[in-house]
């Protein structure tokens, strides 16, 4: 949060990471949503459910992450991005 700025670290051994660490231009698949039911429904209803593939269009390590999923573009606040587990997909 305040202070530490970790850029593109946070890769777990099996390749799972959070959306906040995704790299621009790459394609990922959504593995899991680590939040309460309201959070999960909100993310889902806007197009991002488990198994959905998406492409990152903006992520500067600060502020929201921009991505494209199912022909829609979304901006996801950093706080939420840290609760979204993703895995990279070989394109």
């Amino acid at each position: 949060m305040l202070g530490a700025r970790r850029r593109f670290e946070g890769h777990a051994g099996n390749g799972t990471m959070t959306l906040s660490h995704a790299e621009v231009g790459r394609i990922y698949v959504l593995e899991g949503l680590d939040g309460g039911a309201a959070f999960r429904e909100k993310i889902c209803s806007m197009g991002l459910n488990t198994g959905a593939q998406f492409r990152i269009i903006a992520n500067s390590g600060h502020g929201p992450v921009g991505l494209e999923v199912r022909q829609t573009r979304l901006g996801i606040g950093r706080g939420m991005a840290e609760k979204i587990r993703i895995r990279e997909v070989e394109s």
Binding site: A38, R40, N49, T50, G51, S60, H62, G79
Partner: protein, 719 residues
């Protein structure tokens, strides 16, 4: 439906940004009624239309992405359909965003009402490379699919035709309902049976839907069923079913449900959609790349804002002059046709001076709001919010705080209300405390007046600098307040970046017109009333004897002229000067003037005099009143042969320099908001202590900033 029924009730549901509102406007035109759903701040819109001898009543439901119980909009939309029992639900679906939009569709059809899909923005989809076979889609989804292009008004008749057919029962759609897998369906059937044992409670709700909601832990449905005689059994059964499903799949039930929905949707879409060779993604992509670029994003945003203010001034200049000329003509006409006296003074100096001073800026206001509507309708505002959140994060202000702040640029009141989205009280308070630095629309006339008066060539830049200063002040204030009381919270929001659209002139003009009308209305009501009161306060008590015998001085100039010592021109300007001094002294002795004189010592170090003092105090009622009060001050009792504009009178006042003017602008920027806003502040914060702090610290900050500017500038020789 009863064919003899008078009216066909149609509910319009759909995602935000799907073009629902445009469609609603197309169908109902001016026959709309806008209100609020009882007890909440959610807007309700109802309108009527006639087609083929039939009457339709359209209800525009709040835009939602889902029908869960997690947001008030969704609950309202859901209840409107279930309890309102419309004859038809028209689900507006954005064709260029088909899959995501259908997520809501699958939920709507579960409610059991007849559904028609309006496949909107079909032209957009084609341009982006998707060809949708709407007949096939209709077949797969089991509901009529009518292609429409909302902003070109295409497809409206077909839609109305389809609505009447369905409403009359000539067409009976059998929507395809999403199946959630064998195990889930079993549980749903069981639960459904349990619920339908007491049909009384159900009241139009489908048992399967209730069962589904229970398994999703829907709080509203739980509340609804609490009266059910078998509620305990039902709740236990639902819990058991939930655990069973989770054990089988290893995921929460709600996840399974959404997965199945998208599964169904993907299937239908891949069959009914053909991708034409080219993905026209590229242009939209490249634009976004620049607009939300980590480095370019902010400068581009600043550029747009700068352009906004520049246009407001340059395009507004001529119309402003016309209005000014008209007002001056009116004033001259009145002064010529009315006997000089109190009544004429009230009308000319009070009413025309005050209201005229504010009305003059109508063109600027219109241009400003036109540009804002342009930025909104093209879809840029979403990118701006994206960029702003990134900046906030970068400087250590993560949190949803900036969101209510952005609303503050229109009016501080909704910004205060908007801070409700922050759960932490300290976060809320800090956000509310700085919202006022996002200059509300009412301060703009002050900026335009003073900016235009003292910097005729560079007014746009000056006003832009004031707004920018406001943002800086907010950032500094948040950082300061946070270090003393705040605990940060990461940004929890998700927003759609809608595809770029070419907005329709109609919608832009509509927005502009709405705001323009509000401005005129305020001028003609509150500001008119206050101008009259101000006139009174500035005229009484009247001054009978002056410090200097002005009358004698004026006589002397006449004598000098007749003796040939001075020319006619010189005589006129000397007389003008004497008359202005008389007027000034007159006002300074009035109620208002005395109040101004009272605060003058406090304002003198800032370069302000009692006149500005009165204007600032009056600004407590409404910020535009600062302008109307200046109009009153320079109107009351002055020489009207010169018929100058308020701007030129201000700039030619010997007491004011550019330095004073800028210090004044900064003061107006920072000092406390109007009483309407403060009242809402109190309501939202529920604390007199916080209110006092808001008033105190904004006043102090305004004073210090103006002091630094004025004194500092004087020292540097800028004054």
């Amino acid at each position: 439906m009863n064919p003899d029924k008078k009216e066909i009730v149609v509910a319009l549901a759909g995602n935000p940004n799907s073009g629902k509102t445009t469609l609603f406007n197309n169908l109902t035109g001016a026959n709309q009624h806008v209100g609020n759903y009882p007890g909440v701040t959610v807007e309700s819109k109802v309108g009527v239309a006639e087609y083929n001898g039939l009457r339709f009543r359209f209800v525009d439901l709040p835009g939602t992405y889902s029908l869960s119980a997690y947001s008030i909009e969704e609950i309202i939309a859901r209840n409107a359909i279930i309890q309102g029992k419309p004859d038809v639900v028209v689900n507006i679906v954005d064709a260029s965003n088909l899959e995501r939009n259908l997520y809501l569709t699958t939920q709507i059809v579960e409610l059991g009402m007849p559904v028609i899909i309006a496949l909107n923005m079909a032209d957009m989809a084609k341009r982006r490379g998707f060809l949708i076979d709407h007949d096939l889609l209709s077949h797969l989804l089991g509901v009529p699919v009518i292609p429409t292009v909302g902003n070109k008004r295409r497809g409206m008749d077909n839609l109305l035709e389809s609505i009447s057919r369905v409403a009359k029962g000539e067409v009976n759609p059998q929507p395809s309902i999403v199946k959630f897998g064998k195990e889930m369906e079993q549980e749903l059937a069981g639960l459904g049976d349990l619920i339908s044992r007491d049909p009384g409670v159900m009241n139009g709700y489908k048992p399967r839907w209730l069962a589904l909601k229970l398994m999703e832990n829907d709080a509203e449905v739980a509340k609804l069923l609490s009266k059910h005689p078998h509620i305990k059994d039902i709740v236990n059964a639902a819990k058991e079913s939930g655990s069973k499903i989770e054990a089988i799949y290893g995921e929460p039930t709600s996840t399974i449900i959404s997965d199945k929905r998208y599964g169904f949707i993907s299937g239908a879409c891949s069959e009914a959609t053909k991708l034409t060779g080219e993905h026209r993604h590229d242009i939209s992509d490249k634009i976004d790349l620049a607009l939300i670029h980590p480095i370019l994003g902010l400068p581009i945003f600043a550029l747009f804002m700068w352009l906004l203010f520049h246009l407001t001034f340059s395009l507004g200049e001529k119309p402003m002059e016309w209005i000014e000329a008209g007002i001056t003509a009116l004033a001259n006409f009145l002064s010529a046709s009315m006997p000089e006296g109190m009544l004429s003074s009230l009308l000319i100096d009070g009413v025309i001076g005050g209201v005229g001073g504010v009305i003059v800026f109508l063109p600027n206001i219109m241009i400003l709001f036109f540009c804002i509507a342009l930025l909104e309708d093209t879809g840029y505002m979403a990118r701006a919010a994206f960029v702003m959140d990134r900046i906030m994060h970068k400087i250590g202000l993560h949190g949803k705080s900036f969101i209510p702040m952005l609303i503050g640029f229109g009016c501080t009141v909704p910004a205060y209300m908007g801070s409700r989205i922050l759960e932490d009280r300290t976060d809320r308070l800090v956000t509310m405390h700085v919202s006022t630095f996002m200059s509300c629309g009412a301060r703009l006339p002050v900026y335009i007046l003073v900016g235009g008066a003292f910097w005729p060539e560079h007014a746009g830049n000056v006003v832009f600098s004031i707004y920018a200063l406001g943002v800086v002040a907010a950032i500094v204030a948040v950082k300061f307040l946070r270090s003393t009381r705040f605990k940060g919270m990461s940004a929890q929001f998700i927003m759609e970046l809608p595809p770029y659209r070419v907005p329709t002139l109609r919608s832009l003009l509509l927005h502009m017109w709405e705001r323009a009308w509000m401005y005129v209305r305020k001028a003609g009501t509150v500001i008119l009333g206050i101008s009259i009161i101000m006139w009174f306060l500035m005229t009484f008590p009247q001054t009978k004897t002056f410090s200097t015998d002005y009358e004698a001085l004026i006589e002397e100039t006449d004598v000098s002229m007749s003796e040939g010592l001075i020319g006619a021109g010189e005589r006129d300007s000397m007389v003008s000067q004497y008359e202005n001094e008389m007027a000034s002294e007159s006002i300074s002795r009035s109620f208002a003037g005395r109040l101004g004189k009272l605060v003058e010592p406090v304002l003198k170090p800032l370069g302000f005099d009692w006149k500005l003092g009165v204007a600032l105090i009056a600004g407590f009622a409404a910020k535009e009143v600062v302008v109307s009060t200046m109009g009153n001050v320079y109107g009351v009792g002055e020489a009207d042969e010169t018929s100058e504009s308020l701007r030129s009178k201000l700039s030619s006042d010997p007491n004011y320099s550019k330095l004073t003017a800028y210090a004044f602008l900064v003061f107006v920027l920072l000092y406390m908001p109007c009483m309407a806003a403060l009242a809402v502040f109190l309501k939202e914060s529920k604390s007199w202590k916080e209110l006092a702090f808001q008033i105190g610290y904004t006043g102090a900050l305004a004073w210090i900033a103006a002091f630094v500017i004025y004194q500092g500038g004087s020292l540097l020789g800028l004054g």
